[in-house]
């Protein structure tokens, strides 16, 4: 595999639920070590896009290549092998609430990689340290954590298996601006440390400016703009302009009845 093969290459991705089309021909590429951020309003299909790449949702049409290999419809061992390349930070954390923090972090190591429990514990503590958490949280249950701590534990879990591609689903949503920035810093730090490719979805512009190399805007079932983060303020694209400035007036119409 040459250095030029993109980590992720998506072409012509289509997905409908019943009669409702969510994605209608999405194309993008993510290079080795690159950070793509997909922005867009609520319900624009951002989550569906990354869930298709992850294999949690099966696309109706289109190809998804991971390291140049087709990933759509893989099953059994091939799917398992592919899953080991992925890490995912879910929006609500999605921590297993029946397991203590350290077992959450070590889950992928114990179940997926067959690491012994004592070894996995040590690695979990290392990963917790990487997101700035001390050993004393290790035995707490997820219900005892604050929102910011939960996100950090979820981040520790996503990086514990040393994935090559990490997905972030609205990493800063629901956090105060300072904790949001802490999470952004952690994401940047983790990416530099591990050299991974990342795909994030968010509508938090502060987060976009901090973690993105490349930005793609999803609107009306298609990607309406894609470019480097430096160009986002001079994109010349009315959709992007309206979105980054958060204006109600513009080409993007929300389904809100006006008085």
């Amino acid at each position: 595999m040459s250095q030029d093969t993109p980590k992720i290459s998506v072409t012509g991705l289509r997905k409908s639920f019943g009669s409702k089309t969510i994605l209608d021909g999405i194309d993008f590429e993510v290079a080795q070590g690159e950070s793509l951020v997909i922005i867009g309003g609520s319900g624009s299909g951002k989550s569906v896009t990354i869930k298709c790449v992850l294999g949690l949702i099966r696309p109706d049409e289109g190809t998804i290549l991971i390291d140049g290999k087709d990933a759509v419809g893989l099953r059994g061992r091939e799917r398992d092998a592919l899953m080991k390349k992925f890490g995912m930070l879910f929006q609500g954390g999605a921590l297993f609430d029946s397991l203590p923090v350290w077992e959450n972090v070590a889950f992928g190591l114990i179940q997926g990689h067959g690491v012994s429990r004592s070894q996995a514990y040590a690695q979990a503590i290392e990963n917790l340290a990487m997101v700035g958490l001390k050993e004393d949280v290790a035995d707490l249950l997820p219900a005892e954590l604050s929102g910011g701590m939960m996100k950090r534990v979820a981040l520790a879990r996503a990086i514990a298996t040393k994935p090559e591609i990490i997905f972030f689903d609205e990493p800063t949503t629901g956090l105060d601006p300072i904790m949001g920035d802490v999470i952004n810093d952690l994401i940047v730090h983790v990416r530099e440390e591990m050299g991974v490719s990342t795909v994030s979805i968010t509508h938090d512009m502060a987060s976009v400016r901090k973690i993105a190399d490349k930005v793609a805007m999803l609107y009306g079932r298609k990607l309406v703009w894609m470019g480097p983060v430096e160009e986002i303020d001079n994109s010349g694209n009315p959709y992007v302009d309206q979105f980054i400035h958060g204006r109600a007036e513009g080409p993007i119409q929300m389904d809100v009845r006006r008085p």
Partner: protein, 257 residues
Amino acid sequence: MNPLAPIGCTVLGFLAAAGRLVLFAAMAVMHCILPPWYPRLVLRQILEIGYFSLPVVGLTAVFTGMVLALQSYTGFSRFEAESAIAGIVVLSVTRELGPVLAGLMVAGRVGAAIAAELGTMRVTEQIDALTTLSTNPFKYLVAPRVIAATLTLPILVAIADIIGVLGGYIVSIGKLGFNPTVYLHSTFDILEPMDVISGLVKAAVFGFLIALMGCYHGYHSQRGAQGVGTATTYAVVSGSILILTFNYIVTEIFFSV
């Protein structure tokens, strides 16, 4: 509009739902059989489903046995056939009431709990998270519950049988004035191994159905608190109805043998 269309829609919807359920059941059974297994999780579920259901099932059984002795006395004394009460109690409890009532109670307790837990995991994306951590949710969540329920229900029902017969004994001796030795003698005289075995087979079938319905509805739960609530209701209702349906089917099979 074609007046037949709603009928067709309903029938097609029902068939599609039945098909999805059968596919889910086939997947569940396949993952119960094929490795990797999670013995720790199976043990935990056995404790959860079996051990913690003991009080509920025991209380149901003792009162059922007691009321059975009392009611059959009312009927049988009119024919001066009081001596048949011991037999009536033991046969009703082992063949029918033990498995069915224990099954229904466990469907309410365990079916609802499974659906609520899996439903919440679905809604909070924990099931998706399992997949991203290279763990098959069918193996990790569904299989341990199905295995544990299928194994523990027969044990629960065996205990319910004993407690139910004891309930009948207490009322017959204490209230109706039977001779203890004669009562016990006629109880064991009439009982055949097949009576108990058919009840235990029923129990295993019911256990499988309870866990399956709990997992199925929880796994496919819709969003939000209401989605989980609906999943829980469906799990209990469909579990109970399937128990009563399969009760007849299994009885019929044993009847023909």
